[in-house]
Amino acid sequence: MGVVQYVAKRVATYLAVLFIGLTITFFLPRLLPTNPIDSYIGQIQSRAAGMLTPEAIASLRESLQQLYGLKGDLLSQYLGYLNRVVLHFDFGPSFAYYPAPVSSMIFTALPWTLALLLISTLIAWVIGNAVGVVAGYFHTKRWATVLEIVGILLYPIPYYILAVSVILLLAYVVPVFPLSPTFPVGQLTLPMVGQILYNSFLPALTLVLAGFGWNILSMKALAVATTEEPYVTFARLKGTSHGTRMIRYVFRNAMLPQVTALALSLGMVFNGALLTEILFSYPGVGLLMRTAASNGDYDVLYGAIALSIIAVATAGLVIDLVYPLLDPRIRRA
């Protein structure tokens, strides 16, 4: 049957993509001119105030090599890595912070990243598309052009600048929000949730500002195109109201590429995470990745990137499986 074949093909592609992706990420950190053992020893030395004798360093290096599993040639390491990751979902211990396991480090950081980025991306998408569809539908009017210009101006502003301006405005001049977040510890209670929201507001705001410009513009373009389609004109002649036409006809048809974009951008959260987390001291996966890269901490990097690849690939898979449901035209293909 067509559907089963399609699904099977799609899943097979998904698995192949994952495999290739994971392989590439295995080899990439090896390109780093950084030896993680050196990094760790460097840290210890800086704490040891020169007390670490050369003999001590040499013996430490030996034991670390054993512990990190960095002995053996590349092929055996690769096979060991595949075995561990695919079969056991175990990413091993972090090098820089031995013996903390990578999975625990990532899973502590993950909820923060997911919460912040998913929520702000969703908000940006909803607001942006709402504004966009209205502007696109009434695209002949003056104010629609103004809205588009707002989108055009917001879109190219570098993210970092948006972030600094938001901080200056809302945490310094009008000190409503904190300059650096302090997240409460302990059991999750209602006032704590409030605190978390309060401390996360600024990064979320910046992400929304950065994202919804694009959504306005693309949605508007799509809406304009769709509004000119014959079937919309036909609906107008039929006598439907603006609202119905806008939502049922224009939005529903223009929405599809936007949904694709949304799903893909949700999958790509790790891309946007980085700057946000560094600037706002936000304890997520992006910050983890940055520190790991600077320490040459291979295992943490594998874990984070592998997670990211899985997220994006899965998002793509879900879209491809769900899309035909939304758009009957595609079902044929």
Binding site: I37, P54, A56, I57, L60, F280
Partner: protein
């Protein structure tokens, strides 16, 4: 067409800067973690955010920053950073040497010291710590020093407060290995009654640990941004309860983020001591909030007495850096005054010998070797030392518009800016290079004798050490102007260490690890100058010391001789001075300046920090000597 955001930005930013302080300085009652602000000392962490805050086991790793070594742990001997001499903390007096070979020691500890859970501290804890370190030495990651210093199974208890131990080799620095040297100690006693109950000591996290110091961990952020310490009620029975009463009831170590946001928080009195804020930011902050102060009211404003100095380490084993003429040429092509003004606003203290120039090292090394420096001649008779470096710098600063009241005069010039540095003379540099066959090519850059272009790979830290990063770029600029084709690279921590350790990767880098002579005991920096620490010039094997790539047999002999001397003796010091002379005359290390530790303080809630005119301890919040500050500061009553 309206373009709101762009036109708004500029005036908005201007308004923000002007209006910022007035709105921000409202008094706060509580800190973000729920403690009274005027009873809490809030400090910016030295290392930013910690990646594994759960790990609080001193045998393993990490439990050093964020207050552990300053407030939580306690040591046998401490280091008085105002004089550089050690004094007993847990120990009762100095150790007794038992044999003429200087390997057996007897140590007494003070009775009446209790862990934070009420159990008494005895030699059982010390011996248990030693035994555990040896038992699991392959799995524990913070025990390498002790395991290579103390003889295995050589310890025994004489009674509850006395023990004896033996070292592997004759030891003249026992107090500063088993106790604190500058900022930390290799030996940290752990509570036997807690650790022996654990199934696996090597993976034991020791969260919210039982401490010997007067503070315990009240709360910590599982994401690693902050750690809150609370004073024990029985602080007098703690490891350093005899030092005095710790004034803050709470101490909060927190990472306030990148400098752009930190400065705003500092101006709003959100925390009391910063770590390594850049000089221009400090100036702007002082203008906005008069409670913010630097270490000294005159240039160079900040405390310059850190144990280490920044220098340019060259791979002496690789051509053409193996020729002293080339190294001297590089040194003479650095316009250090301009570099200092650009990179650190002129707030630095130049140091010509391969160690920092501090009130402690000055009488030991700099004053005695001043004649050597001024009389130093290169092969062609040129005298490179400029003893008026400080005054020249002051003249340049005046040109930049600096006010006279901020500039030191008379004797204070050398105390502030150093005894002198090398002259800036690119013409002489060119002469030196020409004498070994290196000439300028048609593009203005130097070429090697065989005609091929000469590029220098110059490595220095990236954002994790802003000062070195800026200095690095400025030095690269200075060199380029003189004709050296420099490829300047800012690198992450991991790569930095790899470049430092690997011959094939190093050409030139800014580093500090081998120029950390804090007091007379220079062996900690130079102990590794031995033939075993020399590898092939293009080797990929990592070095474990001797990062200066010293191959000079004279220096090896001096080091070998020094290990046989008592560290407080004159003969020992003489060896050290001679090593410094050898290193300098061959320009084996282009030493630049003392590490400028920019630690601005905020006197809104607390006062009596260590300052230039009130120097009771080094002002560093991440050294174990921070305990002196804890004991001496006073609340302002706000």
């Amino acid at each position: 067409m309206a373009k709101p955001s762009r036109y708004l930005m500029a005036p908005l930013l201007a308004v923000l800067l002007m209006g910022g302080t007035s709105i921000g300085a409202h008094a706060q009652d509580m800190t973000d973690v729920g403690t009274p602000r005027n009873q809490t000392l809030v400090v910016q962490t030295f290392d930013g955010k910690s990646a594994n805050p759960d790990d609080q086991n001193p045998l393993n790793s990490y439990a050093i920053w964020h207050g552990f070594r300053e407030l939580g742990w306690s040591y046998l001997w401490e280091d008085d950073t105002s004089t550089g001499k050690s004094y007993p903390e847990l120990a009762d007096g100095m150790p007794q040497v038992l044999n003429p070979e200087h390997t057996k020691f007897r140590v007494k500890i003070r009775p009446g010291v209790y862990w934070s859970d009420g159990v008494e501290f005895t030699t059982d804890d010390i011996l248990y710590t030693l035994a555990t370190e040896f038992k699991y030495k392959d799995k524990l990651t913070n025990v390498a020093t002790i395991v290579n210093y103390i003889k295995p199974d050589s310890w025994k208890a004489v009674d509850k407060y006395t023990f004896e131990v033996e070292t592997q080799k004759p030891a003249y620095d026992f107090v500063q290995v088993m106790g604190v040297y500058t900022w930390a100690s290799a030996f940290i006693p752990v509570p036997k009654h807690v650790f022996e109950k654990q199934a696996d000591v090597t993976t034991f996290k020791n969260q919210n640990p039982v401490t010997l110091g007067p503070y315990t961990v009240k709360q910590y952020d599982p994401n690693g941004f902050w750690q809150l310490w609370q004073l024990r009620d029985d602080w007098q029975r703690s490891g350093w309860g005899n030092l005095g009463q710790p004034k803050p009831k709470y101490v909060l170590y927190k990472d306030f983020g990148a400098e752009e946001t930190r400065t705003l928080a500092f101006v709003q009195n959100k925390y009391d001591e910063d770590t390594f804020m850049s000089p221009d930011s400090i100036q702007a902050a002082e203008a906005k909030n008069p409670a913010i102060q630097t270490f000294s009211p005159t240039m160079p404003f900040n405390d310059m007495n850190d144990a280490c100095s920044y220098g340019i380490y060259l791979n002496q084993q690789r051509a053409p850096l193996d020729k002293p003429e080339v190294r001297w040429a590089l040194a003479l092509s650095i316009d250090l005054q301009t570099v200092g003004i650009t990179a650190v606003n002129g707030e630095f203290k130049a140091a010509a010998l391969p160690l920092a120039d501090t009130p402690i090292t000055d009488p030991l090394f700099y004053k005695p070797l001043l004649d050597f420096l001024t009389g130093l001649k290169l092969k062609d008779g040129y005298q490179p030392f400029n003893a008026n470096f400080g005054s020249d710098l002051i003249a340049k600063l005046k040109d930049q518009g600096m006010d006279d009241s901020m500039l030191p005069t008379g004797d204070a010039i050398k105390a502030g800016f150093g005894q002198g540095w090398w002259k800036y003379d690119p013409a002489e540099a060119e002469k030196l290079l020409n004498s070994v066959g290196i000439k300028k090519g048609s593009d203005g850059f130097y070429t090697l004798p065989d005609g091929s272009p000469w590029t220098i790979d110059f490595v220095f830290p990236s954002d994790w050490n802003k000062v070195m990063e800026r200095v690095g770029f400025s030095i690269a600029d200075s060199w380029k102007k003189a004709g050296f084709n420099v490829n300047a690279r800012q690198v992450d921590n991991g790569e930095f260490t790899t470049v430092q350790n690997t011959n094939s990767k190093l050409q030139a880098m800014i580093n500090w690890s081998s120029s950390c002579t804090y007091n007379q005991n220079f062996l900690n920096s130079w102990r590794s100058f031995t033939p075993t620490n020399v590898k092939d010039a293009n080797s990929n094997d990592p070095l474990s010391g001797n990062y200066l790539r010293v191959t000079d047999q004279k220096i090896f002999d001096l080091v070998a001789d020094a290990t046989k001397q008592e560290t407080t003796s004159d003969a020992f010091l003489k060896d050290g001075q001679q090593i410094a002379q050898e290193l300098t005359s061959g320009m084996q290390l282009i030493n630049l300046m003392n590490i400028p530790t920019t630690i601005p303080t905020n006197s809104y809630y607390w006062k009596n920090y260590p300052k230039a005119d009130n120097f009771y301890a080094a002002p560093y919040t991440w050294w174990s000597s921070f305990k002196k500050t804890i004991v001496n500061i006073q609340p302002t009553g706000k």
